[in-house]
């Protein structure tokens, strides 16, 4: 028996699904990725460190902020450059905008129709117009947050090595704070909708990993935490995991201690739920999720809880930012500093950095020379880490779908819908995964 889904819509990037089953045994399960290879790590070589973060932003139109910031963090670490407290605040705000806009898109536009039984979002939007307005308001807020600080919501312009080319207008930040009360209410209603949905029961054993930071629910910085409370620096973790390329695949996979593992919202929640902000914590309790959860479908309510957490966090960060007086030193007049650091380099400089992208931990490694040109580079995206786990999940989930089939040897619409639902629960981004 051969199962083939030509194209799975409502994910980022182009992919299908194939499985081979013989004598009741599953032989092969594969997410069939049809993205072209843009060779990002290759083309970044011999390019200038001032421009590479602008190029890597283009890996993903949904999460360009995290690609920009992970790239800058790795460069700054290699150059031993500390950024100012204001820069940190503004970057963390951009991260919040990124998580909010990406999760809102995935939750409402990509995921919800699977549960409400629509195959056209526009029909769903019509029937649930109030819900749609709330989801759009939350997403717009995330976009505006990135735009006010980054200059543009997709492929932000202002972030640079050491800080920002231009600081945001405080009146616009105040406006964001003013509308955030209503957005928080919208986000809570959105989350209530998602924690009220019925998720398929599919519990399996799998390691999970996310950043962890003693000070806060980690997105921008931290150590990598895995089950049994093991923690490793991003540099070490990048060595612990093994990246490999299945034959004929443009997407590499990654294994942790020889096993597929999961990153993303549910992994963060598993590791860090005690650090959620109050409303998010209340919603988590209301959801009745037992953590750690080993059900990948719970990635969806986990994102919903995170949206609320991030709006709450945004309010706190905005308050702190508005109290600060912006200083010209926060604008990266750091080109001289970078040049000095480069000149003093003996050989090459290198570093690894990680941030939590909406879909999980994202790793950047750079090595560059004194001329400011990249020598080596490696980028490990959340979806390429999740891909091995997703394929294993599909393999383990498929028998229960086939068992329910009335006629043997057919994966009917219901079976195919369940496969797509599991794929979408991971919120995969195949343009990131391929890059």
């Amino acid at each position: 028996m051969h199962i083939k889904i030509e194209h799975i819509s409502k994910i980022e990037g182009y992919a299908g699904f194939i499985a081979d089953i013989a004598d009741g045994k599953i032989k092969k399960v594969r997410v069939d990725i049809k993205e072209g290879a843009r060779l990002l790590e290759g083309i970044l070589r011999d390019r200038n460190i001032y421009e590479v973060s602008h190029i890597t932003a283009r890996i993903c139109g949904i999460c360009p902020v995290v690609h920009t910031l992970a790239s800058l963090k790795a460069l700054e670490k290699a150059l031993d450059i500390d950024v100012s407290p204001t820069t940190l605040l503004l970057r963390r705000l951009m991260m919040m905008g990124q998580i909010i806009n990406s999760h809102a898109l995935h939750l409402f536009f990509f995921s919800l129709s699977d549960f409400l039984g629509f195959n056209k979002d526009l029909a769903m939007v019509k029937q649930h117009s109030r819900r749609a307005r709330e989801a759009l308001a939350v997403r717009d807020f995330g976009n505006l947050l990135v735009e006010v600080i980054g200059g543009r919501s997709i492929h932000p312009v202002t972030p640079t090595i050491g800080g920002f080319l231009k600081l945001p207008d405080k009146r616009k930040l105040r406006h964001l704070f003013n509308i955030s009360t209503k957005v928080l209410a919208d986000a809570q209603r959105l989350a209530e909708l998602f924690i009220g949905l019925k998720y398929p029961y599919f519990v399996r054993s799998s390691p999970y990993a996310s950043l962890h930071n003693a000070k806060e629910y980690a997105f921008y910085d931290g150590l990598i935490k895995t089950p049994n409370d093991a923690k490793a620096s991003p540099t070490d973790f990048m060595k612990i995991i093994k990246e490999y390329q299945p034959e004929n695949s443009v997407v590499k996979r990654a294994l942790y201690q020889g096993q597929p593992y999961m990153v993303g919202a549910i992994s963060r929640l598993n590791n860090n739920h005690s650090q959620l902000n109050p409303h998010a914590k209340r919603l988590l309790k209301q959801a009745g999720l037992l953590l750690p959860s080993l059900n990948p479908f719970h990635n969806i309510p986990a994102q919903a809880v995170e949206v609320v957490h991030c709006v709450e966090e945004t309010r706190e960060l905005l308050k702190r930012t508005l109290h600060k007086s912006f200083d010209v030193n926060d604008i990266a007049e750091q080109k001289d500093l970078v040049e000095t650091k480069l000149r003093s380099l003996k050989g090459t400089a290198q570093a690894t950095a990680a941030v939590e992208a909406p879909r999980g931990a994202l790793y950047y490694f750079y090595e560059f020379g004194g001329n400011g040109k990249v020598v080596n580079c490696n980028i490990i995206t959340p979806t390429s880490q999740n891909m091995a786990r997703l394929e294993r999940d599909l393999e383990e989930y498929l028998p229960s779908l086939l068992g329910r089939m009335t006629t043997a040897n057919v994966c009917d619409k219901n079976c195919q819908d369940k496969i797509k639902m599991l794929v979408r629960a991971y919120d995969p981004c195949l343009t990131c995964a391929t890059h």
Binding site: S9, G61, N119, G151, T158, N248, T431
Partner: protein, 255 residues
């Protein structure tokens, strides 16, 4: 396009970051308003399955990289009355084109151990493969410009983007001139319509919307040389979105 009937529109991605589709979704309620006036034939972000086979207008973002990409593009062309290239990848080549200026075989081997069977063509804009009726450039597209163009096309009104440089909008905004401040800004030779969003944020125009028609890079090049930029530095910037081969179709042996 079509009178008395809602035109059928498709929005399709080849290989890219999909940021131009995201920009369209970012129109939010305004996109939903636009959607009232059309039939969506295919938009994978929102629809489970394509609903029709023939499209009045198809917007295509991304680069044709895989053989499947190229076949899909040609097929879309056959099934559509009007094809719009959306964004820098489709109109110019975009960032993936950087490898055209490098040893692309070495780049492939650097990234993949099992490189056999991975498509690695030179990156070309859509117009290399099929007839393109219109381009909406930018990385990403300017969603306001997209909305204007889309409204006009849906109403059957032909659209031409005004051939004005980025400097035009930059001056309207009364920005300080980055070029005069010594930065390598490509504004004078690049097609405006972006609202000069980069220079307005103290970031030099790096050409994502492609050159103006008949742009003469010579003046700018001399100015940049006088400001101390080497030809290599200028070339790297021109390569970023694939402007270099548009300006210098047959690169002079010595620029």
């Amino acid at each position: 396009m079509v009178k008395n009937k809602k035109p059928i529109i498709a929005i399709v991605s080849l290989t890219c970051c999909e940021g131009c589709q995201v920009a369209i979704l970012d129109l939010g309620a305004r996109f939903l308003g636009l959607a009232e006036k059309i039939t969506i034939g295919n938009f994978a972000f929102l629809e489970e399955e394509p609903t029709t086979q023939r499209y009045d207008i198809v917007f295509v973002e991304g680069s044709p990289i895989t053989e499947e990409n190229i076949a899909r593009l040609k097929d879309l062309r056959q099934r559509s009355k009007y094809l719009v290239a959306l964004g820098a990848c489709a109109a110019l080549g975009g960032i993936a084109e950087i490898k055209n200026y490098q040893d692309k075989h070495e780049r492939l081997r650097y990234v993949y151990q099992n490189f056999e069977g991975i498509n690695n063509p030179d990156i070309k804009p859509l117009s290399h493969y099929v007839a393109v009726d219109m381009e909406i450039p930018g990385c990403p597209i300017n969603k306001e410009e997209f909305l204007q163009v889309a409204k006009n096309l849906i109403a059957g009104v032909p659209v031409k983007l005004p051939q004005r440089p980025v400097c035009y909008e930059c001056q309207i905004k009364q920005n300080k001139c980055l070029l005069q401040e010594g930065l390598p800004c490509l504004g004078p030779i690049i097609l405006g319509g972006c609202g000069a969003v980069c220079p307005s944020n103290s970031y030099s125009c790096d050409g994502c919307r492609g050159p103006l028609k008949d742009a003469d890079p010579q003046n700018l090049n001399q100015q940049l040389s006088a400001q101390g930029f080497t030809q290599e530095e200028v070339r790297l910037i021109l390569q970023r979105f694939g402007v270099a081969d548009k300006i210098y179709p047959e690169p002079p042996t010595k620029i």
